[in-house]
């Protein structure tokens, strides 16, 4: 968030989204879903914004990463293996109040809703908990949607969009 106002710009430095192609991002996500026999509501695709990180996690309580776009890979310092093996909550930290809201909304959408919907949660900080320099991002949550098995219609996962900007990391010494 800008020091001046609650604008859509997040982080200390305006991120460079010139290489981001929304149409391509939609297509990549569709391909992944098709290859894996999955389905998500169309409204989610329509609300992908330029610069959005897109990630797909198995439904709670597992929360393992199943898919992420290149924007996510560009920003996140964890490896694909770490993201797949470890639950999100061990890798990242948010304040108690935000985390409660996020988990409640995620559970509600992933396990109960059939529609895509805005996250509806204020901008906040997210810390890479296991990173030695505790890289800290400002998060602007976008949309969330349930993800179903195309054949069985069972709930399998949920997909989320968010804007992310690196705002801080400790100097080069280990803090935890």
């Amino acid at each position: 968030m800008s020091p001046q106002s609650k604008s859509t710009r997040i982080g200390a430095i305006e991120p460079d989204y010139s290489a981001y192609d929304v149409v391509q991002e939609r297509e990549r996500l569709r391909n992944f879903l098709k290859e894996n026999g999955l389905w998500i509501p169309e409204a989610f695709f329509q609300n992908i914004r330029t610069g959005d990180v897109i990630d797909l996690y198995s439904k709670p309580p597992q929360l393992s990463l199943l898919y992420c776009n290149s924007e996510f890979k560009r920003l996140c310092s964890y490896s694909k293996e770490q993201m797949e093996k470890m639950p999100f909550t061990q890798l990242f930290w948010r304040s108690d109040e935000i985390q409660q809201k996020v988990i409640h909304r995620m559970t509600e959408i992933a396990l109960q809703s059939s529609e895509a919907a805005p996250w509806g949660i204020e901008n906040h900080e997210l810390v890479e908990s296991l990173h030695p320099r505790k890289r800290t991002f400002e998060i602007n949550l976008g949309w969330i949607a349930p993800c179903f098995d195309l054949a069985t219609r069972e709930r399998r996962a949920f997909v989320s969009s968010l804007k992310v900007a690196l705002i801080f990391e400790w100097p080069d010494f280990k803090v935890a």
Binding site: P3, P60, D96, I103, L111, I167, F168, A176
Partner: protein, 346 residues
């Protein structure tokens, strides 16, 4: 009887005696005379010993255990009884010391398990504080007018919020980690102790999305206790509840405090699957656990029961409730003690 044996017994530093089959003391140590004070029970126990080979009984003041052993002789009329007294007040003290040691060891074990998580719980919000400070400082260096009052207020509120959070966590660790084995009872706030216990499992509460509801807690509700030990009891119950509700979509832990006559009753309820009837009578036994190997030592509830016993309270599982419910009962504070000890709370 050889005179050297008689001589040895009369010089023996502990309370012992040699008694004939009619109950006549043939030889005894000096301390035997100082201590031995038995009623009619002595004669019946003597007969029991002669018949079955051994017997034991307590003295009139319940301080000493008299243990008697029959010493057979080729001539049955010369059968004697060896008797010695054991100071059970010392034994009781030793047992209690051992129990206190176990309570302390369990606490150290809990602390070591929580240490890494607690480090993150402090360092992560500290990082957010630093992020806010660094951002404001950078902007101020470029141009102070870039930092609006609104942004400054928001940032300061966040810094204060995270600082308070760290303060609470450190307080929780400090209250819990205190070695209370030698502590006298003092008055402490039930609410503060519950808050301290909750702060120690905050990562699990937050990351599992568990909703915690506290009902009936008044900051003025004070109980005579060893605070770090009660925090340990609350922590054990809450940790078990968290393990039970973690796999549930909308997990809930509900902690209610009520006064019922002469006792405070705390009910820890959760919407987990509860304790199965076949496990109910075993859950307070040491080393009993239903958790997978490595996930639980099975001593949390047995240690909690010992602590509650020391506090003249109780802990039990209440099957009659709709939700899975553990109950902790504590005696209501003595008014005079409360007045005397005010200000010593946790």
């Amino acid at each position: 009887m050889a005179s050297c044996l008689t001589d040895a017994i009369t010089r023996y530093p502990f309370p012992v005696a040699l008694i004939d089959c009619k109950g006549v003391i043939l030889a005894s140590s000096p301390s035997w005379h100082d201590i031995a004070d038995f009623d009619d029970n002595f004669q019946s126990k003597l007969e029991q010993c002669l018949n079955v080979g051994s017997s034991e009984f307590l003295d009139n003041e319940f301080k000493y255990l008299c243990q008697m052993t029959r010493v057979d002789n080729d001539n049955p009329s010369e059968t004697v009884i060896w008797a010695h007294l054991v100071d059970i007040t010392t034994l009781d003290f030793a047992t209690r010391s051992r129990e206190a040691e176990q309570v302390h060891l369990k606490k150290l074990q809990d602390l070591s398990e929580m240490a890494a998580a607690m480090a993150h719980e402090i360092n992560n919000p500290l990082t957010v504080i630093m992020a806010k400070i660094a951002h404001i400082r950078n902007e101020m260096q470029i141009d102070p007018s870039r930092v609006s009052a609104e942004y400054l207020n928001e940032s300061l509120a966040k810094i204060a919020h995270h600082s308070e959070r760290i303060f609470k966590i450190v307080n929780g660790i400090r209250s819990f980690s205190r070695d209370s084995r030698q502590d006298a009872m003092s008055l402490a706030s039930l609410k503060s102790m519950i808050d301290d216990a909750l702060s120690l499992v905050n990562p699990t509460i937050r990351d599992s999305g568990v909703k915690i509801e506290l009902i009936g807690f008044d900051k003025e509700l004070m109980v005579p206790c060893r605070p770090s030990q009660l925090i340990q009891v609350f922590l054990n119950i809450i940790k078990n509840a968290l393990d039970a509700v973690k796999p549930i979509p909308f997990p809930l832990i509900h902690i209610q405090a009520v006064t019922e006559g002469e006792k405070y009753v705390l009910r820890f309820s959760d919407n987990g699957p509860g304790v199965s009837p076949e496990h109910e009578d075993k859950i307070f036994a040491p080393f009993f656990t239903t958790k997978p190997p490595g996930a639980g030592t099975g001593i949390g509830l047995s240690v909690s029961m010992r602590i509650m016993h020391d506090h003249h309270g109780a802990i039990y599982y209440d099957r009659s409730r709709a939700l899975s419910c553990f109950v902790v009962e504590l005696p209501v504070q003595n008014n005079s003690a409360a007045t005397d000890r005010k200000g010593k709370s946790a």
